[in-house]
Symmetry: none
Subunit: 198 residues, 4 copies
Amino acid sequence: MSKVTEKYVLPKRKGEASRSRLLEAAAQLFAERGFEQTKISDIVKAAGVTQPSFYLYFENKDAIFAELSSQMTQRLGELMLELGQFQTSEDLPQKIQDNLCAIFTLLNQNPSLTRIGLEHATQAPLLFATMEQMMVAQLSLIKQQLKPDLDLELAASAMIGMVRHFIQTQLIPQKRSPAELARFCTDFQLFGIAKLKL
Amino acid sequence: MSKVTEKYVLPKRKGEASRSRLLEAAAQLFAERGFEQTKISDIVKAAGVTQPSFYLYFENKDAIFAELSSQMTQRLGELMLELGQFQTSEDLPQKIQDNLCAIFTLLNQNPSLTRIGLEHATQAPLLFATMEQMMVAQLSLIKQQLKPDLDLELAASAMIGMVRHFIQTQLIPQKRSPAELARFCTDFQLFGIAKLKL
Amino acid sequence: MSKVTEKYVLPKRKGEASRSRLLEAAAQLFAERGFEQTKISDIVKAAGVTQPSFYLYFENKDAIFAELSSQMTQRLGELMLELGQFQTSEDLPQKIQDNLCAIFTLLNQNPSLTRIGLEHATQAPLLFATMEQMMVAQLSLIKQQLKPDLDLELAASAMIGMVRHFIQTQLIPQKRSPAELARFCTDFQLFGIAKLKL
Amino acid sequence: MSKVTEKYVLPKRKGEASRSRLLEAAAQLFAERGFEQTKISDIVKAAGVTQPSFYLYFENKDAIFAELSSQMTQRLGELMLELGQFQTSEDLPQKIQDNLCAIFTLLNQNPSLTRIGLEHATQAPLLFATMEQMMVAQLSLIKQQLKPDLDLELAASAMIGMVRHFIQTQLIPQKRSPAELARFCTDFQLFGIAKLKL
DNA sequence: AATGAATGAGCATTCATTCAT
DNA sequence: GATGAATGAATGCTCATTCAT
């Protein structure tokens, strides 16, 4: 029945479109309300499809949540690998700031996904733990530029905590820009808030 | 029949005991699993009472959760008032460290309550926001001892984030003691991690 | 331990007082809300006794309701026997009116009991049926003073229906007095509302 | 594929059928036992569907009861409007009789609905009150054909009470036909039961 | 005579998930 | 690819009733 003159159909099949709409709707709802409070019926309503259609694309509620959770986590993981490692020779503060800025920028791109991954996902604590370990490794590399008696583990943990809190209270509510946050973080971490070092 | 020497029994009636057991059981379960995942049937099973008994002591599931949430929040609020305000004349670092130590110590007393209040309670974000405002006020008082261009809001936020993360990842898992954490926090916040300020 | 000087106790034992208070409270609540909507906890609260005390005086919820239901039904039955039967010789309209007035007066004495017996009691339909049968018997006695083709059963039913509705909508809300209602009923039943019989 | 000659199938989808069965089952059960005594589990059992299916069609127990209550009330209200008003010129007794017959006939069509609306619905008293007011208005129009000292309010109340009682004790148990009841009512109301007016 | 405490049995409602079409 | 209809399995909560004191 389709004639040649008919506009050659969307590259994304109709099914793909439905799947995307479901993901989008779910992302927003999960971010706003969390996993338990989000009902499948809400998701499909927001996506404009019927309930059984949901199961055409996702095995169950867990599956779609897992897919969303991992989206962000994965990108973040990739980014962290890209960022490479500190080198003694480099301009340390600038490097740290650049890295943080890249991370904040990434997370800023999809706030819903960020909230899901960092606030609601069960593996969030694991993610932070992993990041802390990476951070410890990084700090070890530049140990001689740090205070001699510094507890690296606590330092890493403190930095992650700070960043995490900034994401939730500054970045997601769009109060501050990635660059601004990155700059502040770097300075705070390296030199603290006191006027003079006595 | 009762002899003078007999230790006068606990005035706690049997009902009070049941209520306490319910609170304890609920605290642990809410802390471990969160609100939705904790079923009343679990709570009463853990407390060793029947389901209708629950409703003898609490209006509903929300009520017992609210009671637990506020227990910690309230104590924390009271403590913060007690701690008073920074004074220019004092030994600043010591004062900060003492305050933090008091807070960590309090939260360390009942980990379940702490988790509920800080991780699961809906008002947790509000609590942190309030703490940030108090912190901004404190910092203003000692502004001349801080870096001239310091963004007080971000500084407060960073400090709260750090403390919050320490509570979850160091204090509750009993990895570090309140004193240790307080000392580290103080030093980190005031002077950062870099060896020298160039 | 009780001394002679002690005031010799209330003629009604304390227990009797509690029982009465329970009956009173129950009467009012049953009348207002009906059987199902009235909780034992409401009754005891209104009566100022504890829940187990209720079971000291009544076997269960059904029992107290039955007692209240029968109170009114019984008195009504006794009255109807007293009123005796129509006699041809008497002044018929006056006799009917007197009887009705006696009934309305009795029911007017305890509105709660009346409502329970007539609106909420399960046997209410039976009560009305019995009254209808008695009424048919009465009417038979004065058959020659009635229209020749009158359907006695329907006539009795109509009269009971009228009386019943008056009790609910006029007597209990205290809109009209027993005497007024009795007079109207009599006239209406005997002669209808039309100006002339053509 | 469908041929023109094929009778175009009932537009009633399967869901509509379930909904109807639920309504029917509920109507009967509510009529027999009243609201409280009727459990959703009874309704669905009688309708041959599962419990969650109930909530596919009705928000809750109240909703289905309200729907049933209003069905009858609404039809009755419409009928009463249709019946129009008494006119002096008409054959009054006949007109009254016709109107009553129409009402009895309507109510006779669905006894369950009638019982629900008149016996169990909370608004039943209101319904009767409304009908009484309408009746007072009607009687006012033909005042000159009535006894001069007639209390219109009581007369209307008496008539409604009679009709109401007939519905419950004669019509619903199918003891008398609508026509029979209408005829009796008319005669009774207009002229009473006495042989002669003295 | 009275009560603090407790409970068995039940009920309305919800939600993720599936089947037949 | 899509859907109208249906459901198994819970879950929070209520209420009449009883036990031990």
